[in-house]
């Protein structure tokens, strides 16, 4: 049974206005979600492109070097490795310096190296130091080098940004709860006399609450679906015009975000409906007017 006559224009308007408010609030939350996913991916991208360089001894046989590279590839913390031989290293440095230093010196002083790119999770100062020790154990390794300061700086900045985003997300979630709560309460306030009539004819609190709860779930569901549609339009626009946008490529995360938004909307609308109705069930009737 519907607690309010669905054919009534005012009830329809009230229902639609709650759905619109919920979808706009959820859309904002979704935008923040997209921003969070993008920054997470961006920080992973930055971390995974910092290399640890392993310089190889001059006399190391190339078969052994290749075997060592393969063993590195198999390690859990390694995302990828790149082998750079002496000649390639000289070529790169010549290009960077703009001078033929090999011709000037008469020999190539550079060593062959393996650049190791770590998985983002392992790019913490402690882990990298441990990995450095592990890498240096091999006899073919002359030196292991990485920019400690850069890793510290990246981690520090990622942490700062994460704190800011989490703080902002909590604030936005609170604001969204207040806004949705106010909208739902207002729509139930408009139906307080229906609740009163139900009580006077002998309806139980459970019977009175149930339709409001179902209504809240429906409003949350519709609000969530509309918010996801708006987000999809926005993501499509970005995916077409800014092809490097990380989140547009990460469909799993987007789907997860959509499901979370819809469930959050349904939960919030249902819970606020529940408490608002309970409030009117318990209220002193004199305060209804």
């Amino acid at each position: 049974m519907s607690q309010a006559n669905p054919k009534s224009k005012s009830n329809r308007t009230s229902f639609v206005s709650v759905v619109i408010s919920v979808s706009l609030v959820l859309f904002l939350l979704g935008l923040l979600g997209v921003f969070m996913i993008t920054s997470q991916k961006l920080s992973e991208y930055v971390k995974e492109n910092i290399a640890i360089s392993i310089f190889i001894n001059e006399d190391a046989p190339s078969a052994e070097v290749m075997h060592y590279k393969k063993s590195l590839d198999a390690k859990e913390f390694v995302r990828k490795t790149t082998f750079i031989d002496k000649d390639k290293a000289a070529e790169v440095l010549t290009e960077d310096l703009g001078e033929d230093f090999v011709g000037f010196l008469g020999y190539n002083p550079l060593h062959a190296s393996i650049d190791v790119y770590l998985n983002a999770d392992y790019l913490e100062a402690d882990s990298v130091a441990q990995i450095e020790q592990e890498l240096a154990l091999s006899e073919i390794v002359k030196e292991v080098y990485y920019q400690k300061d850069l890793i510290a700086l990246v981690n520090q900045n990622v942490q700062k940004i994460s704190f800011f985003i989490i703080g902002f997300a909590v604030l936005l979630a609170l604001i969204s709860m207040v806004l949705i709560n106010n909208n739902v309460r207002l729509s139930i306030y408009a139906k307080r006399m229906i609740i009163r009539t139900m009580q006077l004819v002998g309806a139980t609190p459970g019977f009175i609450t149930r339709p409001f709860l179902m209504n809240g779930l429906l409003q949350g569901l519709l609000g969530g679906v509309f918010a996801c549609l708006l987000l999809s339009i926005l993501l499509y626009y970005f995916a077409v015009n800014y092809t490097d946008l990380f989140v547009a490529k990460d469909l799993d995360m987007v789907v997860l975000l959509y499901v979370a938004l819809i469930l959050f909307g349904m939960f919030l609308c249902a819970i606020t409906s529940f408490f608002a109705v309970r409030n009117y069930i318990k209220i002193n009737p004199d305060k209804l007017y």
Binding site: S8, Q199, V201, I208
Partner: protein, 224 residues
């Protein structure tokens, strides 16, 4: 004689001020009882006590076999299903037809069988002579007709007791008489009716036992 209301002791307070005290009230099956008194004398508060909207701490007695002292909040809906309540301002739902108002009340009080629901609505509309108005919206009805819908709604669960709080307060004398005649007929059919009113003309035209709320007490009023 079967007792429908049997209050042996009660004190009703509002905002910590005693409105009525030493209340003793007995209403028998098929009896029509008037509650009269000035505005604020406690007529409505007494009715609210009977349908458990006000729950005085020191009350002893029962209404339609529900012990008001031991009455739990969860039992109030079941008490109200055995009562019919009529208000001065009708308290109808203006976003739906007369039929839907009654349908809503029946469903809210636990009715499920569609055929029985339909039959019951037709029966009560017939009882208040509104059989032709089922699909009319309440705002299109006159005040008297709206009050008749409210009475029809009160009759839906075949209650043992009808509580009417100033049922003619918003109506002209002729319509008031029509409403009183319906309530009188309901009473003659074996149901008890308690009417809170200050309309003395009604009392003259439809005389019955009368209690006066005066100086915080409920006093039996002797017929002139």
């Amino acid at each position: 004689m079967n007792t429908i209301v049997d209050i042996t002791q009660a004190e009703i307070k509002q905002n910590a001020i005693s409105v009525l005290h030493d209340i003793q009230l007995k209403v028998f099956a098929g009896e029509l009882l008037y509650l009269v008194g000035k505005t604020g004398s406690g007529k409505s508060s007494l009715l609210k006590t009977l349908y458990a909207e006000i729950k005085p701490k020191n009350i002893q007695g029962s209404v339609v076999d529900f012990d008001l002292q031991k009455l739990k909040t969860s039992e109030i809906p079941f008490l109200r299903r055995k009562l019919g309540i009529v208000f001065q301002d009708f308290q109808l739902l203006y976003d739906r037809s007369v039929y839907d108002n009654l349908l809503f009340a029946l469903k809210a009080s636990g009715w499920k069988d569609k055929k029985k629901i339909q039959q019951r609505i037709l029966d009560v509309l017939n009882e208040v002579k509104l059989e032709e108005k089922g699909y009319v919206m309440p705002h299109r009805l006159s005040g008297g007709e709206q009050q008749r819908v409210a009475i029809a709604r009160a009759l839906l669960n075949d209650p043992e007791l009808i509580l009417a709080d100033e049922p003619t307060g918003n109506l002209d004398p002729q319509t008031s008489e029509e409403i009183m005649r319906i309530l009188f007929d309901i009473c003659n059919a074996g149901k008890s009716v308690i009417i809170a009113t200050h309309d003395l003309e009604i009392l003259k035209k439809f005389p019955s036992r009368t209690l006066r709320c005066e100086n915080g007490k409920l006093i039996e009023q002797v017929a002139p």
